[in-house]
Symmetry: C2
Subunit: 468 residues, 2 copies
């Protein structure tokens, strides 16, 4: 038995009825060509043979004298953790997304280790889906996706021998990578760390903070701070119901646009989000005159960002006040370039401290509900590097891996995406009540690519051919 870390504990304390704090991934999988009709059933039966789980999948919450501990549960109950579901007819992606929207809204039972794995059959095209849900107190979102991918392999046949995630994973100690609300909590840890280490080691961090403040005051449009986020329909208290929308977009097309503008794929993706959100807000007659501000992870390496591990949170506006798509992309790129230059002046430990201090007061206030009515950021957009080759899980080819993240009061929308070989998989999660017809954002994202291609005079076919 060991007491929970400050961060793990916070995720439990801050969880509310309308604000569950688990993360998940939805994988769409293509069974092998010779799969029998009862393929999913047999796969489910095989999973149900599992008789144990490794840490943290066997960690159960216990409370003694008011303190939360993890104990290693020795009464593993696979029926509690593995669920076989089927889609109703006609079994379109629409039915799958509606199911995930509902299942993601339900809390995990704290009497058991805080995760659950769903195998879903019944897609009309014969594909199956895997939805894996885990509490943020157990593992953060990106680590969760990495661990899921670690149970996949490049060879269909060999992938059958890889044990399921709960039997395979071993937590690597040390630093966590970018969970959604961690920066807030990190701030608390950072302040304790700085207090211990003395003020000297913190100098570059303070320096960076003041430089940003000076740039902001000088009116640099690329320098974005939390205070400038306008109020928007995304920034309301949320209900307990969710809407999940997911789609894959061509990575070659995004890359072709990026190359034309000397931008990164991440810049293009952010501009796409800006474009889609602008259109959605116009639909709802709710476009603020100031641009939306997004909290985004930024790779501090200079390349495309898919292999970078040193990732920090930064703020960018999304150019939603700009009508022209090319101009919008340039504005977003400007923000991101500013962020990268700023963050590159810090080493990883300082980065960690910097973003903690940047976000701590406001996000912590949000999570605890003390800052209701104050907009800090309008939306969270995370870009997670994915696999660069075809992967197989239990003999099935991975056709898409869509993150299902967390929304919290005052930030009713989260967009997380994974770049894979060939595709970028978008997972959008929002409060169903706050964001009517949120799934339309999927169409608007597609249209935003077409718009940018039109702006640079390239067709989709050309972009894909060039890449090949």
């Amino acid at each position: 038995m060991k007491p929970l870390s400050l961060i793990d504990n916070a995720f439990l304390l801050l969880e509310q009825r309308q604000q569950p704090l688990h993360v998940a991934a939805l994988c769409v999988l293509q069974p092998p060509p010779d799969a029998p009709p009862d393929f999913a059933y047999r796969l489910a039966e095989r999973m149900r043979q599992s008789t144990g789980a490794v840490p943290p999948f066997n960690h159960r919450l216990v409370r003694r004298a008011g303190i939360n501990f993890w104990e290693e549960a020795d009464d593993f109950d696979i029926a509690q953790h593995f669920v076989h579901l089927a889609l109703p007819k006609p079994g379109r992606m629409r039915e799958l997304l509606a199911m995930i929207s509902r299942v993601h809204a339900a809390h995990l039972d704290r009497a058991y280790p805080l995760w659950r794995c769903y195998l879903i059959e019944g897609l009309a095209d014969g594909r199956i889906a895997l939805y894996f849900k885990i509490h943020h107190a157990l593992v953060d979102g990106v680590a969760g996706i990495r661990l899921l991918m670690k149970t996949m392999g490049p060879d269909a046949e060999a992938s059958l021998a890889i044990p399921p995630p709960w039997e395979a994973y071993t937590r690597r100690g040390g630093k966590r990578s970018l969970p959604l609300p961690s920066p807030a909590l990190r701030g608390v840890e950072t302040l304790r760390g700085l207090a211990r280490q003395g003020v000297a080691s913190a100098a570059p961090v303070w320096h960076r903070l003041s430089q940003s403040r000076r740039d902001k005051r000088a009116g640099d449009p690329a320098c974005v701070d939390a205070a400038q986020a306008p109020r928007s329909i995304f920034n309301q208290n949320i209900s307990g119901s969710r809407r999940f929308a997911a789609q894959s977009y061509s990575r070659a097309r995004v890359k072709a646009i990026a190359a034309h503008f000397g931008a990164t794929s991440n810049d293009v993706v952010l501009a796409m989000c800006g474009s889609a959100l602008r259109r959605y807000l116009i639909d709802n007659n709710a476009l603020p005159s100031d641009p939306l501000v997004a909290a985004v992870p930024v790779s501090t390496r200079s390349d495309d960002g898919t292999s970078g591990n040193e990732v920090a949170f930064a703020l960018t506006h999304l150019g939603t006040h700009i009508a022209d798509p090319a101009e919008r992309l340039c504005a977003v790129k400007g923000c991101m370039d500013y962020n990268k230059a700023a963050l590159r002046s810090l080493n990883p430990a300082q980065l960690y401290a910097y973003e903690g201090l940047l976000f701590a007061p406001s996000l912590f206030g949000l999570l605890t509900g003390q800052r209701r009515g104050r907009t800090v950021v309008n939306v969270v957009i995370s870009h997670v590097p994915g696999p660069s080759e075809d992967l197989y899980w239990q003999g099935c080819r991975l056709d898409g891996i869509y993150p299902v993240s967390v929304v919290i009061h005052q930030i009713a929308l989260n967009i997380t995406l994974i770049s894979r070989n060939g595709e970028i998989d978008f997972g959008l999660i929002g409060c169903r009540r706050t964001l009517p017809h949120m799934q339309r954002l999927l169409d608007y994202l597609e249209e935003s690519i077409v718009e940018l291609e039109k702006a640079i005079g390239v067709t989709a076919a050309e972009a894909v051919t060039e890449e090949a």
Copy 2:
């Protein structure tokens, strides 16, 4: 907008993460012989045409200045309230019960009117299921089942024209019938009522309470009070996970046994529960030496109890300390006869007051968690009168209607049953973690009928033939 009643409010306040306070019914339905393969899909599409709901199905919770109100929502969203599900293969009752166990564990979203209706396809035998879930603050369990039955009709064809429950129901004012924890809350109302009316009107109630106390002191084994309930494995704090088990038993066989013993069907059903629970406790090496005490509704009419409307809560032991099944039934009948005689001396208003006062302190303490560690009753067993003829819903014959009730901390098992023509439909809901392999109770209930038939020298076939 109107403020919630004391009782409705209490159901919201007392709801906890592990203790959702909604009730439900699971109907198993046989589609018409000429149903097309996409029958369920078409039915779902028809339900999705619904554009509005009548009270209380349009009542949404709003909070103003710390007070809860119901407001009539005018933005009806059928996609939030109606859900189409499918069972995974092989589509046995087992898969259906596992699905209901999970779905029943999830809270309703308080941002919307507090109910949801699920249409479930995929049973291997071609039948479909309807699971209807509603918050106890909106309507109590028995009223909920009645309203569901009101949307069914004796004619298959004509039943197609009956609107779904949320379009049809009108709440009839006045007294509520037996919800599970109402007696506790009723006590509070009763005390206020008695205070208003003066002591005189309460005399028969006080008289009855003292008589019971005297009988108990004199050692009458048929007089059961809350203080005598032994500690048992059923009386622990619960987790948020559920196990639902459901099965129909032959009503003719139960009636034949009842006739032999000069007992009511209800007496036999209680003895069956006693028998099954005894066996389950022996399995788990956890049989208390004192008999389990059940809170049960009792009809104050002298007949079989299927048409009685004046129903009160009473306590009975279940003879779990007695090895002989016939002897157990006689002991349970003794308790129930005592209860009926006692309750018959009171008029309905006095009954209402009596049971409120009897249960209020202990059950209220339980619900609020102030009486943890003290066993009040071991189990709740409700027997609800059902339809006496074949019923059809949307063209499908009703094959079974299984109540899915509520469990609370310290009462981890609830057995509710509905007597229909030909069958008694049992719905057992329990805390999954507290009650391992709870579904075995279904087999033990069947065996308890066989045991009693053996005791009176009747075979199942004879019982059914005699009835016909």
